[in-house]
């Protein structure tokens, strides 16, 4: 089920800018999260992951390397998807983000709960 690049989802330019780039191969979807993940943008990622799950992807790799910012709201979204994957028939893995992003996982002690893979 090939997924070509899709039109970026954006919120208004005066708030956080965030978009997802999606690519797919067999039952694996890669979601590159770009920009700032917070209260104003978390719904974009949430909707994208829900859409990919509905489309039948079993492994979703969320690449955080293009994130410039994440706070506890973004963190909670990733943890909820991780929990959802454990309950259901799917897997979620993360590619590490930049230092400021990784620090949020480390400070909250959640890095060990999440599955990180290489890009």
């Amino acid at each position: 089920m090939p997924l070509e690049s899709q039109p970026p989802d954006r919120v208004s330019p005066d708030a956080a800018v965030f978009r997802c780039e999606v690519s797919g191969k067999r039952d694996t979807a890669k979601v590159r999260a770009l920009g700032e993940l917070d209260l104003g943008t978390v719904a974009i990622l949430d909707a994208k992951l829900a859409e990919l799950r509905e489309a039948g992807f079993r492994l979703m790799i969320v690449d955080l390397s293009g994130l410039s910012f994440i706070d506890s709201t973004g963190l909670r979204c990733l943890l909820e998807w991780d929990a959802e994957a454990r309950r259901g028939n799917i897997s979620i893995a993360l590619v590490q983000g930049p230092r400021a992003v990784q620090r949020v996982f480390e400070l909250t002690g959640t890095a060990a709960r999440l599955r990180f893979v290489d890009a």
Partner: protein
């Protein structure tokens, strides 16, 4: 520099999901104008995001804008955010346990700020925090 007047940032924010990003952008611009290079911008922006997110959630039934105030003290940067949400006042609202800084947001605030607190009065709720500046 004795008697230097700290520049104050005062922001009024509609309590919408966009408020955290707008606040981060404003604080980032404001800090760039301060002669204070002792703060770690990443940390400050994370804390501001947590403060504002909490207030948006807290004020979700209210229409009054949030008020974010920031100023540079001698060895700290202080942020205060006020929202009109206040438990037990005229606003008829379902009591919720997550009205206050909670969970991971609170964890980040306690670990990254040097002090923080919550004050309530009849007009609303103020949450404040301070970040120590190096040197």
């Amino acid at each position: 520099m004795n008697g230097s007047i700290a520049t104050i940032l005062e922001l009024s924010l509609a309590p919408t999901p966009k408020a955290p990003a707008l606040a981060r952008a404003a604080v980032s611009d404001w800090l760039a104008q301060q002669s204070n290079d002792g703060v770690i911008l990443d940390v400050v922006l994370l804390l501001v995001s947590e403060l504002v997110t909490n207030s948006v959630r807290h004020a979700r039934m209210a229409e009054e804008p949030l008020r974010l105030t920031a100023w540079v003290g001698e060895a700290t940067v202080r942020f205060e955010i006020w929202d009109s949400g206040s438990d037990g006042t005229v606003a008829r609202r379902e009591p919720r346990r997550d009205n206050d800084l909670g969970g991971f947001g609170l964890e980040l605030v306690t670990r990254l700020s040097s002090a923080w607190g919550v004050e309530r009065d009849v007009t609303g709720t103020t949450v404040w925090l301070e970040v120590t500046t190096a040197g």
